[in-house]
């Protein structure tokens, strides 16, 4: 089998050379700069059962890029991949999306109920185009599919196997519907798709041929190669630094002194943006993330952070190191949380640059974990390993006012006493 990473590199180069995708190199990982839209889509193609949401205005090459990648990875003609896609509009029904009862069975006697599954349902490359044009009730269909990884209709169940999920979404327009938080949590990463810059615009003008013709010139992957990609990604190990930073990130976003069980995901109604933090001594401290966002992060975010860090590290030929996590984490987190408006509305965010604010929060958390939490983490680990008594550890940790020490480590050690 050829080196799959080189083949993916060749695919990325071909997309640029054929003027099929010319995005800004807006994702810096170490000394390498790549286009986030393309590389997250490639990462998602290397993973299974993860959903990537491309978010942006019309004509930002969201759907076409995903279909081009589908054509390349599945080895299918571009038009055929386009047919695998479902598009959002209020008249879409479950029957049109996943399948319907075979009408021919009514002329036969006996036998099991037969469902004719749609190509989308059977495909392992599922694209949901303009997901926010589905009314909220119909969005629940995808919630179930993303959760169970199988599709049910009329008592029949289709298990399509390990699948790559892609969705696209426009900003709020007159015909769009808000996405449910539970569905957003099942979306693994969200990447903004921007319009091409000046130079890219000029280069795109040089494109003479139709996309479908150019798509035939992209490198093709065989089925075996496509199926081997997840195992290639799995060979990338994550460093202990990355593992520690991921768990701390989750805790930084989720812990709240005033929430039930200190868990912000259990909040309903009362939130930091609705005055929950008034008078709390963490409130207003820029080093604490707890008061800066309304939502906590679920364990799915942890899994997604690990998987996408691995996948990006694989694609860029790097180890699973902290620089990759720094680049990946904001894209995994920003659609799952809502920073408080008083922060988001201020310059340089102006109420519009949520991703930039989440990037700053992620940086703060990772830097604090790596640079300033060493002592408290070491105390906690020694107590867990039995190298010091929980009582002494609690006493030492009580000098650290860090939310993780106070709201997670100390209660855990108290249970161990």
């Amino acid at each position: 089998m050829p080196d799959l990473r080189r083949k993916i590199d060749a695919l990325a180069k071909s997309l640029e050379n054929l003027r099929l995708h010319l995005g800004k190199r807006d994702l810096a990982i170490g000394d390498r700069r790549v286009n986030s839209q393309l590389y997250f889509a490639l990462a998602n193609a290397c993973l299974r059962n993860k959903a990537l949401l491309l978010y942006g205005g019309m004509g930002a090459n969201k759907t076409t890029l995903v279909n081009l990648l589908g054509a390349s990875f599945l080895g299918l003609p571009f038009e055929e991949v386009e047919n695998l896609m479902v598009s959002g509009h209020p008249e879409q029904t479950e029957e049109k999306i996943v399948g319907f009862l075979d009408p021919r069975q009514w002329s036969r006697s006996g036998g099991e109920v037969e469902v004719l599954w749609t190509p989308w349902a059977r495909s392992q490359w599922k694209v949901i185009n303009e997901i926010n044009r589905f009314p909220s009730g119909k969005q629940n269909l995808f919630l179930e599919i993303l959760q169970k990884r199988k599709i049910g209709y009329a008592g029949k169940v289709l298990v399509p196997g390990d699948t790559c999920y892609f969705a696209t979404m426009n900003p709020e327009f007159s015909a769009t519907y808000p996405l449910d938080e539970a569905l957003l949590d099942r979306i693994s990463a969200t990447v903004p798709a921007a319009q091409p810059d000046f130079l890219s615009g000029l280069m795109l003008s040089e494109r003479q041929r139709e996309v479908r013709d150019l798509a035939t010139e992209l490198p093709r992957f065989g089925l075996q190669e496509f199926q081997a990609l997840p195992s290639c990604v799995a060979q990338t190990d994550l460093s202990p630094q990355v593992e520690l930073a991921i768990v701390s990130l989750l805790k930084d976003f989720t812990l709240c002194e005033r929430a039930p069980a200190y868990d912000k995901t259990q909040l309903s109604g009362s939130k930091p943006s609705k005055g929950l933090c008034a008078g709390c001594h963490y409130f207003g401290n820029p080093e604490c993330l707890c008061w800066q966002g309304d939502e906590g992060l679920s364990d799915r975010a942890r899994q997604d952070l690990r998987e996408y860090t691995r996948a990006l590290a694989f694609l860029l030929g790097r180890a699973g190191e902290i620089e990759v996590l720094r680049a990946v984490a904001p894209f995994v987190i920003w659609h799952r949380v809502n920073p408080v408006r008083s922060l988001l509305d201020q310059p340089p965010y102006y109420g519009a640059r949520k991703l930039a604010l989440v990037q700053e929060l992620v940086e703060k958390s990772i830097n604090r974990t790596l640079n300033e939490r060493a002592e408290m983490n070491t105390i906690f680990s020694r107590a867990v390993d039995g190298e010091m008594s929980p009582r002494d550890a609690i006493e030492e940790l009580s000098g650290h006012d860090d939310p993780i020490a106070r709201l997670d480590f100390i209660p855990a050690l108290e249970r161990m006493r």
Partner: protein, 258 residues
């Protein structure tokens, strides 16, 4: 693997540590944060203490449109920002702008109510119309406005005010001092209960000019309305012409034609 080994691998011997400074992180991001610390009706000194000479913070806070309960805070912040700024502070408008201003300058496109209230220094320029209570109880500094509503320069002690157009009712009510010039006309009861200072009106004045005034000087280049100087006790009124019952019941002072 033991957790302590995992931590050793993660930190690789770089066990630097700094405890979270939770008591020092008292940042203010919005007027709501400020109100939470000082309440909605603080003194200027309380607000100054929290803003602590941070001009950028003051400007950031006043860039947001204040809710009704935070207008007083917003007004103090405009003064603090203008005092800290080396150039005039430019604002679109709002109530309480320049509240207790002591130095610096504010330029407003339009002004709401109570602009320049209690100011004791500095300058306020209102390009358009100012609302009611302009320069109320000011004790220094100066205000120039295109035109204004009622109660302008009420209770003024010192300082000056210029209205380029017309002024509403009750201009200079209860004034102790200072100078007011109105280039247009002014409404009724201008100089009511006036005890000192000067009021000059280039156009006409409404009824009851200098009502029960006990000091100061009023000059009206046009005609004064009915009952000018009614029951006045002191001071002087000069007008080109008077309406009926001028000087009725006057106990002192002087009413002259000029």
């Amino acid at each position: 693997m033991k957790l302590s080994c995992f931590m050793d691998q993660a930190y690789q011997g770089n066990v630097r540590s700094r405890k979270l400074e939770t008591r020092q992180g008292d940042l203010i991001f919005s007027l709501e944060d400020l109100a939470e610390k000082v309440g909605c009706k603080p003194s200027k000194a309380q607000v100054e203490q929290l803003v602590a000479g941070d001009e950028k913070l003051a400007i950031r806070l006043i860039s947001a449109h204040p809710r009704k309960e935070h207008q007083l805070l917003w007004g103090y912040l405009t003064s603090i920002a203008a005092e800290l700024s080396s150039s005039p502070l430019r604002l679109d408008g709002g109530n309480f702008a320049g509240l207790e201003l002591s130095r610096g300058a504010i330029v407003l496109e339009e002004a709401g109510d109570r602009v320049g209230e209690g100011m004791n220094g500095g300058r306020i320029f209102v390009k358009g119309r100012a609302g009611n209570y302009l320069g109320q109880q000011m004790s220094g500094g100066g205000i120039v406005a295109g035109c204004c509503g009622d109660y302008a320069f009420r209770g003024m002690a010192t300082g000056w005010g210029v209205i380029l157009g017309d002024a509403g009712k009750f201009v200079g009510l209860g004034n102790l001092g200072g100078s007011i010039a109105v280039r247009g006309r002014c409404g009724e009861r201008a100089g009511w209960l006036m005890r000192g200072g000067r009021l000059r009106v280039a156009g006409e004045a409404g009824d009851y000019l200098g009502l029960i005034m006990s000091g100061g000087e009023i000059v009206v280049c046009g005609r004064a309305g009915a009952r000018a100087g009614w029951r006045m006790k002191g001071g002087s009124i000069v007008a080109a012409a008077y309406g009926p019952e001028a000087g009725d019941g006057a106990l002192g002072g002087a009413l002259r034609l000029g």
